[in-house]
């Protein structure tokens, strides 16, 4: 029996297909968008705003780091509790919700795909086990290949082909999606309690973070990878770090991708757009970063917008989290991962009364409003670092409403008026641009538009969000409420949310990439890799790779080697 569904009277915003608020019907059969249907169940969208299912390029939702955050914060778990229902498991948590709640809350916001951006390779199995228990959302994870000793070997020898072979092996071993780089070199230095800026040599390995980023960008483009390297630049959170960010973006300027996409994605850029020399003269440098992005086409960014309130910061940038703990004195967890990467976790309160936090809060919005082309831009809060993903509707309402921004400006620190340009920006995004930065651009940045995501063209996955909004709605409060709880969310042709209630919780698919590397190259690399396991790893080579049983609903993307 084929499952047919017809959505009538939808006002569709589908930027990948250039559909800008057209009143249309959407036909669905067997979970896909089709041209016509014969005997469908019918949903009358009643002229409401309809978009493809949301795609989030960067949210820490699954894995060792996130779970350490949950475990260490029962006081966060105690918030947001909901009893189990016939459909839903028991829910808990605000900034570090349990996995079921993550699936339900994203679905209620109309999201259907989330990228876990930081999977420590040695702990990859943990990330996949949590993705299995994250309902509804299709997903993928990016293994961290930034501070790996194998990466250092080939960056030092300059052998990009062998580095490409290592990347191919690592992405297959971890069932990953692409190359994630966090504080390259710095987290290895943190193994001795130290750190590195872009051109500082990594202790003992004496290569620089700049060398690492460049080499990995080149190696990544040796395959037809759907996504570019995903980079958290050095010196996150340090006043004056905008120069490090610009220098990092410039490193890869000449590199081309066979996949006609940028070659570097700069993530949670807000944390990397700081001016001044200390917290006293701290100021926004969003305009400098925005100018660079406007004048170059080899870079995409996601904003990492602050949500005022308490949250849990967690990143592979061990040294940064330690410095945050030293400022707040709150609890602090660290986990260096042998030969590969690290992580740090500490709670943080972003307060509108504090000047620095207020400027941080403006920077994310400045980036979104100063960067002219929304296709280079993704909306994130680096969940939960700058704030929980449940805050996305707030960000959407402030980007769409100058009036809302001015109201908030009056309630926060006056530093907003002399250290940031947000009050002077009048631009308001419309539904079309919002659809770009939350599904269109985000799907393209990840290379998922070729795999049925982020749009409603024929053959696309029937992932659809129907918001209880008329296209003319301009009231920030109504917009915020509507983007928090959809009228309907449809995942793979199945209604999963109705009137803000989860009515079904099917399992999501895990997307992973198989880079097809030349076998001779691979064998040469494996000699070096097996030596590392023999001498330095605490697990054996044969027990390392993630077994297929950890992906009950796999979706494979092959990435052939580029000639």
């Amino acid at each position: 029996m084929t499952e047919e569904l017809l959505i009538k009277n939808a006002v569709v915003y589908d930027p990948i297909n250039g559909v800008r608020g057209e009143r249309k019907d959407i036909c669905i059969r067997d979970g896909k968008i089709v041209a016509s249907v014969r005997n469908p169940k019918v949903i009358d969208a009643g002229g409401r705003v309809v978009m493809p299912g949301g795609v989030d390029v960067h949210a820490h939702i699954a894995g060792g780091k996130v779970n350490s955050g949950r475990l260490m914060r029962p006081e966060d778990g105690r918030k947001g509790r909901e009893p189990k229902t016939k459909v839903c498991r028991a829910q808990s948590g605000y900034s570090v919700p349990n996995t079921f709640t993550t699936g339900y809350r994203y679905a209620k916001m109309g999201y259907t795909f989330v990228m876990e951006p930081a999977m420590p390779p040695l702990l990859a199995r943990h990330t996949h086990e949590e993705l299995i228990d994250t309902p509804i959302l299709d997903n993928a994870a990016l293994p961290l290949i930034d501070n790996n000793w194998m990466t250092f070997d080939y960056v030092k020898s300059g052998d990009i082909d062998l580095l490409a072979a290592y990347i191919a092996w690592m992405i297959k071993a971890t069932k990953g999606y692409g190359v994630k780089i966090v504080n390259p070199g710095g987290t290895e230095a943190w193994g001795w309690g130290k750190n590195c800026d872009l051109h500082d040599p990594v202790p003992t390995f004496d290569i620089t973070p700049a060398d690492i980023v460049k080499a990995l960008a080149l190696a990544n483009e040796k395959f037809a990878m759907p996504h570019s390297i995903h980079v958290h630049t050095n010196m996150l959170g340090h006043p004056g770090n905008f120069e490090t960010t610009l220098a990092t973006l410039d490193l890869v300027k000449g590199i081309k991708s066979v996949k006609n996409r940028p070659v570097l994605h700069c993530t949670h850029t807000q944390f990397h757009s700081y001016g001044g020399t200390s917290w006293k003269d701290f100021e926004s440098k969003a305009n400098a970063i925005a100018n660079y992005v406007n004048n170059n086409n080899h870079v995409s960014i996601d904003i990492g917008q602050i949500i005022l309130g308490d949250t849990t910061t967690m990143t592979a940038d061990g040294p940064m989290e330690y410095s945050l703990y030293q400022i707040t004195g709150r609890k602090w967890t660290n986990c260096d991962v042998e030969l590969e990467t690290g992580s740090g976790i500490t709670p943080f309160l972003y307060s509108g009364k504090v000047g620095v936090h207020t400027i941080q809060w403006t920077i994310g919005q400045e980036l979104a409003l100063l960067i002219k082309d929304p296709w280079k831009l993704a909306l994130t809060t680096d969940h939960p670092n700058a704030g929980p993903f449940i805050g996305y509707p707030i960000v959407i309402s402030t980007l769409m409403s100058k009036k809302r921004r001015d109201e908030i400006a009056k309630e926060v620190s006056p530093a907003i008026y002399d250290k940031s340009s947000l009050p002077s920006i009048d631009r308001e995004l419309d539904f079309y641009e919002v659809a770009i930065i939350t599904r269109g651009a985000t799907a393209k940045i990840l290379g998922l538009q070729e795999h049925g995501k982020g749009h409603l063209g024929l053959g696309a996955d029937a992932d659809i969000a129907i918001y209880d909004l008329s296209p003319e709605e301009r009231d920030a409060g109504k917009i915020q409420r509507a983007f928090l709880n959809t009228k309907y969310t449809i995942k793979g042709g199945q209604v999963v949310v109705k009137d803000g209630e989860v009515v079904a919780a099917p399992a999501g698919k895990t997307f992973f990439v198989t880079p097809e590397c030349d076998q001779k190259l691979m064998d040469e690399m494996l000699v070096n890799l097996k030596q590392k396991f023999e001498n330095y790893y605490s697990v054996t080579y044969n027990n390392y790779a993630v077994q297929d049983v950890y992906l009950p609903h796999p979706y494979e993307i092959k990435a052939p080697m580029v000639a």
């Binding site: 260490m72 914060r73 029962p74 006081e75 966060d76 105690r78 004195g329 709150r330 609890k331």
Partner: protein, 261 residues
Amino acid sequence: MQTITLRLKDAVMSGIAKVPVAVDALTPDKLVGKSVEQIKAVQVWWGNSQEKAGNLFEITVEGAAASANEVKLLFEGKLNRVKYIGSGMKAGEIEARGDVDMHCGAEMEGGRVVVKGNANCWAGREMRGGELVIEGDAADNLCAMYRGEMKGMTGGKVTVYGDTGECVAQYMAGGELLIKGNVDILCGLSMSGGKITIEGNATLPGADMIGGEIIVKGKMLEMMPSFKFIETATIDGAAYKKYLGDFAMGEKKAKGTIYVR
């Protein structure tokens, strides 16, 4: 003045297993204005299912009350497995005649709770206001925080006539606590504010404290090694040694004070 008497039926605790009854739904501010039938219909948790209050308690109501301040609850019967007495209370009065179970007066904001007996763990947890009097002993984590929080008791007044357990007033940030008996180890652990007066003995009080004040009128059975003697001071005419600490937290944070007889 209205008095609502709630006598726990013997049958509730007659089984092999003594499954706790949670009465956070039965406080003066939540019951004011309700008829006895409506009170009997209030849902109360007993293990993993809710029961009508009337099925677990014999309930009688005398007099009337215009506001919660004029409502007094009287808990009677075998209360040692009745949890959350007065929890989250905003106004009015509660008297519990007998030993009560955990979370008595937890997250109280106002009103007065008197326990004619011992109170189990977490009495006065995260208290913000109001008064809690325990005429017997209080078990561990009296006036403490919930796991992971940085603040426990922030206001209100608690008096315990008997002894108390471990970690009393952990992460205290405000309010007043008077203990007439002895306290077990680590009273005032990690406190940042508020005042604790112990008329009996104490063991390792004030560890990791960064503010607030502890007075030990009885014997200091074991003193923390990381406190610094400052001077002698007099309180109510008696001489005390004044210590500053906890220097294990570093000089900048060692802003807590302990007075030792």
